[in-house]
């Protein structure tokens, strides 16, 4: 059974179409990065998946309809919708008590174990904690829940680089076990590149790119072309070209690596570079590099 399955998922706010007929299938055990510019419809799509907003089209999350069965769904799914949604009056021990009281899959000892590695005391109120500590606390709470699906919508927004690094490290080392599914959206694409198993680009409410990281790494190559070979490189039909320090960097889709090595330094592009390429092609003419 797919963890998330959407067909023709659509959501409009008045005349603005936020999600425009998304087809989506996320298998169990994947870490999917949902990448898109502001206002692309990422949060709206996630809200539909989490039962926070009504939608049109077909959507099943862990076999349930999220809009009508949100509370049952939340036994097996969990989310961090934003940084700083923990109520400011809440004390750490109260959060533990409450979760232990209402959540059948919450493991209090586990949460306390995670928290012991931080400077957060159990008598602290959320309002007394720094933004980074609140994120740590929330992550500790969520990781102590034995959920099948975890959705993270900009979980590290506004945190400094140390906390961001720590966040994804503990997520991978202490939480992910290949049977869980994680969906994450973020603007700090470079930080999640090594974490993801799948990547999806979303723009203007549509999925414009969707591939696994293995496929990504085998298909796309970026070449810093030697100045005298630019013309030869362009003949191989790069999907994107940019200039850095006066040198051309060309991005290729499904071009033989050896062929490219002759033209300059070859490397795997970053998701961010591919994202820019895909989106700028999209706004131009028809593009062949995506499907």
């Amino acid at each position: 059974m797919a963890c998330i399955e959407a067909r023709g998922l659509r959501k409009a706010f008045g005349t603005t179409i936020a999600v425009d007929g998304i087809n989506l299938r996320v298998e169990e055990g994947r870490i999917l990065g949902l990448i898109g510019p502001n206002g692309a419809g990422k949060t709206t799509a996630l809200n539909a998946i989490l039962g926070l907003t009504p939608y049109q089209g077909e959507l099943k999350v862990l076999g349930r309809d999220p809009w009508t069965e949100r509370d049952q769904l939340m036994r097996d799914a969990c989310f961090i919708a934003d940084v700083a949604v923990l109520p400011r009056w809440l004390r750490v021990w109260q959060a533990f008590d409450y979760l232990a009281g209402v959540h059948p899959r919450f493991d209090r000892a586990k949460a306390e174990g995670f928290l012991a590695k931080t400077n957060i005391r159990s008598a602290s109120k959320v309002r007394e904690l720094s933004k980074g500590m609140v994120a740590q606390l929330h992550l500790a709470l969520v990781m102590a829940i034995d959920a099948k699906l975890l959705v993270l919508d900009e979980p590290t927004l506004g945190l400094d680089i140390l906390y961001r690094k720590q966040f994804y490290d503990s997520l991978l080392n202490d939480y992910f076990d290949r049977s869980r599914t994680i969906v994450v959206t973020t603007h700090q694409v470079e930080e999640v590149q090594d974490v993801l198993t799948d990547v999806m680009f979303i723009n203007r409410g549509r999925i414009v790119f969707d591939c696994s990281m293995e496929e990504f790494e085998s298909r796309y190559l970026e070449v810093m072309v030697n100045p005298e070979q630019v013309a030869a490189a362009r003949a191989l039909k790069p999907i994107h070209e940019r200039q850095v320090f006066g040198r051309s960097i060309l991005l290729f889709d499904r071009v033989d690596r050896q062929q490219l090595t002759a033209l300059g330094d070859v490397r795997t592009p970053s998701i961010a570079d591919l994202f820019v390429a895909v989106l700028s092609n999209q706004s131009g003419a028809a593009q062949g590099g995506t499907r």
Binding site: N47, L50, G51, L52, T53, P54, R70, D71, Q72, L73, M74, R75, C78, F79, I80, A81, D82, A84, V85, L86, P87, R88, W89, L90, R91, Q94, D97, Y98, L99, A100, G101, V102, H103, P104, R105, D107, R108, A109, H138, D146
Partner: protein, 299 residues
């Protein structure tokens, strides 16, 4: 009702069991209500403060002006109860207005919705505060306050050699407590249910300033009715709801407050159509609030 901290420590095997515990609806409700008490400490702080202030004033009066000793003892007792109940009522109004609005304002609704607690449970737990928790709490605090008053005045009377009347006061004390409990549960709980329901509904809906949204529509309806039809049925309806189902105050004004409270027998109270209409209206408001919370996002 066991948190992991008080599971039997002698059975390590049980602790290892990873099968998720079944969480009953009542347990979820219990923790939801506790959550409200954590967030809104004014629920118990305000009535306790009112009681403390009153006791201080009572003690001052008792020690400073001996004239009070010869007055009928019932009046300050009733006043204490009225003060604490009134405080509870006001706290209930402000609580209800904030209950479903505050979680949207501070975005914490996104956290609460990430947990397996339904909107129905959440709204009902918030409704239980003004309907059940506040009246019972006010009652308990009022009875304790009155008991302390009784002890204080007995001590002062004994000290001044006037031991008469203490027994009589004690006799009426239990009678008074019962009357108070009856009044508080019927009027503050059941009779006011639609008021709290309306406030919760506004609290779930209001895009901002729930206070204005709660009080403006009744005011507008009253104004429109007054201008268009020159009648004030709506105002009369509100007055009836606020003053309670007890017989009109004109007959009871001269009498004792306690007599007024007890003037309505349970049979009369529960056969008042106004009660059932009110409860039905409250149910409609609550159902709307539950539905609204499902759609609501942070402001």
């Amino acid at each position: 009702m066991s948190t992991p901290s008080n599971t039997v420590p002698g059975s390590p095997l049980e602790l290892q069991v990873t099968a998720p515990a079944v969480i009953t609806a009542s347990r979820r409700m219990y923790w939801s209500v506790r959550r409200e008490l954590w967030e809104h400490r004014s629920i118990y702080v305000a009535p306790l403060t009112a009681a403390a202030v009153f006791l201080l004033a009572f003690l001052t009066a008792l020690t400073l002006s001996p004239a009070h000793r010869h007055e009928p003892l019932d009046i300050p007792y009733e006043f204490a109860a009225a003060l604490i109940m009134g405080t509870g009522f006001i706290v209930g109004i402000f609580y209800s207005l904030d209950a479903l609005y505050g979680e949207r304002r501070d975005r914490s609704i996104l956290f609460w919705k990430s947990l397996p607690v339904s909107d129905l449970t959440t709204v009902l737990s918030k409704f239980a505060i003004p309907l059940v928790i506040l009246p019972l709490l006010s009652f308990a605090i009022a009875v304790v306050t009155q008991f302390v008053m009784l002890l204080l005045s007995s001590a002062v009377l004994l000290g001044s050699g006037l031991s008469v009347g203490t027994l009589g006061a004690r006799m009426s004390f239990f009678h008074m407590s019962l009357m108070l409990l009856y009044h508080i549960l019927t009027v503050h709980g059941l009779w006011y249910a639609p008021i709290y329901g309306w406030l919760l509904l506004v609290s779930a809906w209001a895009p901002r300033a729930p206070f204005i949204w709660a009080f403006l529509p009744p005011f507008v309806i009253w104004g429109v009715e007054k201008i268009a039809f020159s009648t004030s049925h709506f105002l009369g309806m509100l007055q009836y709801r606020l003053t309670g189902p007890e017989p009109s105050t004109t007959t009871a004004r001269s009498g004792n407050l306690m007599e007024m409270m007890s003037a309505l027998t349970p049979v009369q109270f529960f056969s008042t159509p106004g009660l059932w209409v009110g409860l039905a209206v409250a149910a409609i408001f609550l159902a709307a609030a539950v539905r609204l919370r499902r759609y609501r996002e942070p402001i």
